[in-house]
C-alpha cells in the first residue's frame, strides 16, 4: 500500500492537498480577523459570497472539464452570449424567471456542445479549440449586438431575490440573494455529480486514462458532450448571477476573466492533465483567493502591492503541494 495504512481518515485528510489548502486558508482568515475588525463578520461573508458567485459557479463547471482531462477557455464568451440572449429576449417579450433561466442555460449548453463536437471530431487539444471558439462566440456576439450594453433590465430581475433579510446594527441589510443561491446550487450539483453518480466516476476514469476508459466500454464521445455541456450550463447560470449583480449586460466585460477561474480551480488541486480534482478543493481555492483579495483591501495594503501578494500566495500554496508530492514520490521509489 502506498499510503500509511491504518492512519485515521483525519490524518489522511491533513496530508492531502485539500487539507493543506484548508490550513493555509484558515491561517489567512485568522490573520485577517486579528488584523481587522471588518473581515470575519457575517456581513462580509455574505458580501464575499455575492461578489465571488460568478467566478465560483464557473469554477464548478471548469472543475468537471479539468477532471475529464479537457480544458475550456471559452466559458466567459459563452456566458456573455447566454446573458445577452436571455435578457434581451426577456426585455422584448416580457418573460419571467423560468423562461429567462431556461434560455440562458440553453444558450450555454448549446455553446458547450459546439465545443464538445469540435473537440471530439477534430481530436485537437481542447485548449486550442476553446481559444478558437472563445473568439468565435465573442466575435459573433459583438458583431450581432454592435457592442450595445443593456442597461434597462426587467424590473423583477433588477429587484432580484432577497430571502431571510436581516438588518445589522448600522441599518445595512443582507440576506440570501440570487448569487448565493446559484453558487450553493452549482457546488452542490457538481459534488453530487462527481461523487454520487456513475457518470461522475466515468469522468474521473476518462481524465485519468482515456484509453483504459474506452476499453472499459465507456462512451468517451458521450462523456465529452456531457462535460462541455455541463460547463455551458454553469456558464449560463453564472451569467445571470453576474448580470443581476452588475444590473446591466455588457457584452465586453466578461471575456478576460478566464484565468481568474482557472487559477481558483488549479489552486484547489485540480490537475491540468485530468483525473484529479475535488469540489472541496475548488471551494477552498476560491475562498483563499477571495480572502486574500478582499482582505488586502480591508487591511489597507496599497493596491500597488495587491497583485503581487495574490501571486505570491498562489505560488506558495502550489509549491508546497508540489514539494510534498515529490518527497512522497522519492519515498516510494527508495
Amino acid at each position: 500500500m502506498r499510503e500509511r495504512f491504518g492512519t485515521s481518515a483525519l490524518a489522511r485528510f491533513a496530508g492531502s492537498h485539500e487539507g493543506r489548502l484548508l490550513a493555509v486558508t484558515l491561517a489567512v482568515v485568522a490573520g485577517l480577523s486579528v488584523a481587522t475588525t471588518g473581515f470575519l463578520t457575517v456581513q462580509n461573508l455574505f458580501d464575499l459570497l455575492t461578489s465571488y458567485a460568478f467566478l465560483g459557479i464557473l469554477a464548478a463547471g471548469l472543475l468537471v472539464v479539468l477532471v475529464a482531462g479537457g480544458i475550456d477557455i471559452s466559458f466567459t464568451a459563452t456566458a456573455s452570449v447566454a446573458q445577452y440572449l436571455a435578457l434581451s429576449l426577456a426585455n422584448a417579450y416580457g418573460l419571467g424567471w423560468t423562461t429567462t433561466f431556461a434560455l440562458a442555460v440553453a444558450a450555454g449548453v448549446a455553446c458547450g456542445l459546439v465545443n464538445a463536437w469540435l473537440v471530439d471530431t477534430l481530436r485537437v487539444s481542447s485548449i486550442i479549440v476553446t481559444i478558437a471558439t472563445l473568439n468565435i462566440f465573442y466575435g459573433l456576439l459583438v458583431f450581432v449586438t454592435g457592442g450595445q450594453y443593456i442597461y434597462a433590465l426587467p424590473d423583477w430581475f433588477s429587484a432580484g431575490i432577497f430571502w431571510f433579510e436581516t438588518v445589522d446594527a448600522e441599518g445595512v441589510s443582507y440576506g440570501l440573494n440570487l448569487q448565493i443561491l446559484l453558487l450553493v446550487a452549482a457546488f452542490a450539483l457538481t459534488w453530487l455529480l462527481l461523487n454520487r453518480t456513475t457518470i461522475g466516476r466515468q469522468i474521473y476514469a476518462l481524465g485519468g486514462n482515456r484509453d483504459a476508459a474506452r476499453r472499459l466500454g465507456f462512451s468517451t464521445r458521450r462523456l465529452t458532450f456531457f462535460v462541455y455541456g455541463y460547463m455551458g450550463l454553469m456558464a449560463g447560470l453564472a451569467s445571470l448571477a453576474q448580470a443581476q449583480l452588475a444590473q446591466s449586460v455588457a457584452p465586453t466585460v466578461l471575456v478576460g476573466r478566464e484565468l481568474d477561474v482557472l487559477a481558483a480551480v488549479v489552486l484547489g488541486g485540480a490537475s491540468l492533465t485530468g483525473g484529479v480534482g475535488s469540489v472541496l478543493g475548488t471551494v477552498l481555492g476560491l475562498v483563499l483567493l477571495a480572502a486574500i483579495q478582499s482582505g488586502l483591501v480591508i487591511v489597507g495594503v496599497s493596491s500597488y502591492w495587491s497583485q503581487l501578494c495574490v501571486g505570491l500566495v498562489i505560488l506558495l500554496s502550489v509549491s508546497s503541494t508540489a514539494l510534498t508530492l515529490r518527497r512522497r514520490a522519492g519515498r516510494v521509489s527508495a
Binding site: G38, Y149, V172, A246, S248, A250, V297, I298, S303
Partner: protein
C-alpha cells in the same frame, strides 16, 4: 471625347498629382483617414465612430475607424502596420499603450503619414494630439464637485481603470493634488484602486473599502464603469446619503444612479465630438494650414494650441446630472 480634351484632362490629372492640390483631392483619389481605437464594438467607440463618419462627410475625407476585438496593445500595432502598408493619407489613433505604439508611429512619420492622436498627450511619434478636455482641469472639476458634496471634509477614495492607464491616472493625480492644496480637511483614505473598467470589480472594491474605512464620505471614479459599480454597492448598502459618488460615466448607463441621487454628478467629454475633432484636425494638416494658438477648429470653435508640445485642446467638459441626462441620452450617448 476628342484627342484635345483627352490631353487636357490628362494634363489636369498630372498637375493635380504633381502639386497635390487639395481642391482636387475630392475628385481624385479621396484622402483616406483610418483611426485605430482602443477596442471595437463598445458604445463609447461606436459614438466616436459616428463623429468620425460625420467629419469625413463634412470635410470630404474618406474617414473610417478600426479597433482590436479586445484591449490589446499588440493588436493595435498590427493594425497600424497594416495602415502604413496601405499608405493611407492620415492615421488616427487612440492609444492603449504609448510605449508600445511609439516605434510603429515613427515608421508612419518616416513614410510621410501624419498621425493624429486622441487621449494620447504623451504619445511620441504623433503629429498632433487632440483633447476635448484639459486633463488637469478635468480632474480638478470632479474634485471640486466631490468636495462640495463632502462639505470639504472627510475621507475619500479614488478608482482608476488600471494603475497604468495614462489619462485616468493623470486625472487622479490632478484631483488629489487639487484636494491637498484646497481642501486640507479632506483625506485620501487609501492609494487609488484599479478596476474601474469593470462594474463587478469596482462593486467588490467598494464593499471592501466601506468596511476598511467606516468614515468614508466620498468616492471619485475615473473609468466609466467605476462610478457604476461603486454606486451599485453604495445603493445596496443604503449609504447613498452618507457617501457621495462622483466620476466619469456614460449618460445612458448612469441614468438610474443619477436619478436616485447615488451618483451626485458625472463628467465626460462628448465622444462623437472627439471623433469629429480628429478628422477636423487631420483636414487642417492635409490642407497644410498653420495650426497655432486660437486656431478655429471647424465645427468645434477656438482651440488652445501648444505648438511645441503638439497639443490641441478644445474645452468641452460635459456635465451629467438630473437636468442634463435625458438630453444627452437622446443624442445617443
Amino acid at each position: 471625347m476628342n484627342r484635345r480634351e483627352l490631353i487636357a484632362g490628362l494634363g489636369a490629372g498630372v498637375a493635380a498629382g504633381v502639386f497635390g492640390l487639395p481642391r482636387f483631392a475630392g475628385a481624385q483619389a479621396a484622402k483616406e483617414m483610418v483611426t485605430v481605437v482602443k477596442i471595437a464594438g463598445i458604445p463609447w467607440f461606436n459614438a466616436v465612430e459616428k463623429g468620425i463618419k460625420k467629419g469625413g462627410g463634412d470635410f470630404g475625407v474618406n474617414a473610417s475607424m478600426v479597433g482590436p476585438a479586445n484591449v490589446d496593445p499588440a493588436q493595435q500595432v498590427k493594425l497600424l502596420e497594416d495602415l502604413i502598408a496601405k499608405k493611407v493619407s492620415v492615421i488616427g489613433l487612440v492609444p492603449l499603450d504609448v510605449k508600445v505604439c511609439e516605434p510603429v508611429l515613427k515608421r508612419a512619420q518616416a513614410a510621410g503619414i501624419p498621425v493624429i492622436t486622441h487621449e494620447g498627450p504623451e504619445q511620441e511619434g504623433r503629429t498632433w494630439n487632440v483633447e476635448l478636455i484639459d486633463s488637469v482641469k478635468f480632474g480638478e472639476v470632479q474634485m471640486q464637485r466631490l468636495a462640495r458634496d463632502m462639505n470639504e471634509e472627510g475621507e475619500y477614495v479614488a478608482y482608476v481603470g488600471t494603475l497604468t492607464t495614462p489619462l485616468h491616472n493623470k486625472w487622479a493625480d490632478a484631483a488629489i493634488a487639487y484636494q491637498k492644496q484646497h481642501y486640507p480637511k479632506m483625506k485620501l483614505a487609501a492609494d487609488r484602486f484599479p478596476g474601474a473598467d469593470e462594474i463587478d470589480t469596482s462593486y467588490r472594491t467598494t464593499l471592501d473599502v466601506i468596511k476598511a474605512h467606516p468614515n468614508l464620505k466620498g468616492i471619485l471614479g475615473f473609468g466609466s464603469n467605476g462610478p457604476i459599480g461603486a454606486g451599485n454597492a453604495v445603493r445596496e448598502k443604503r449609504l447613498a446619503r452618507k457617501i457621495a459618488v462622483v466620476g466619469t460615466v456614460l449618460p445612458s448607463q448612469a441614468k438610474p444612479l443619477i436619478m436616485d441621487g447615488t451618483i451626485r454628478e458625472g463628467f465626460l467629454w462628448n465622444p462623437t465630438e472627439a471623433g469629429y475633432a480628429m478628422v477636423a484636425v487631420a483636414k487642417l494638416v492635409l490642407d497644410g494650414k498653420e495650426i497655432k494658438d486660437g486656431v478655429d477648429i471647424p465645427g468645434l470653435g477656438r482651440a488652445a494650441v501648444d505648438v511645441g508640445g503638439r497639443q490641441i485642446k478644445v474645452d468641452k467638459i460635459m456635465q451629467i446630472n438630473k437636468d442634463t441626462v435625458d438630453g444627452l441620452i437622446s443624442q445617443g450617448l
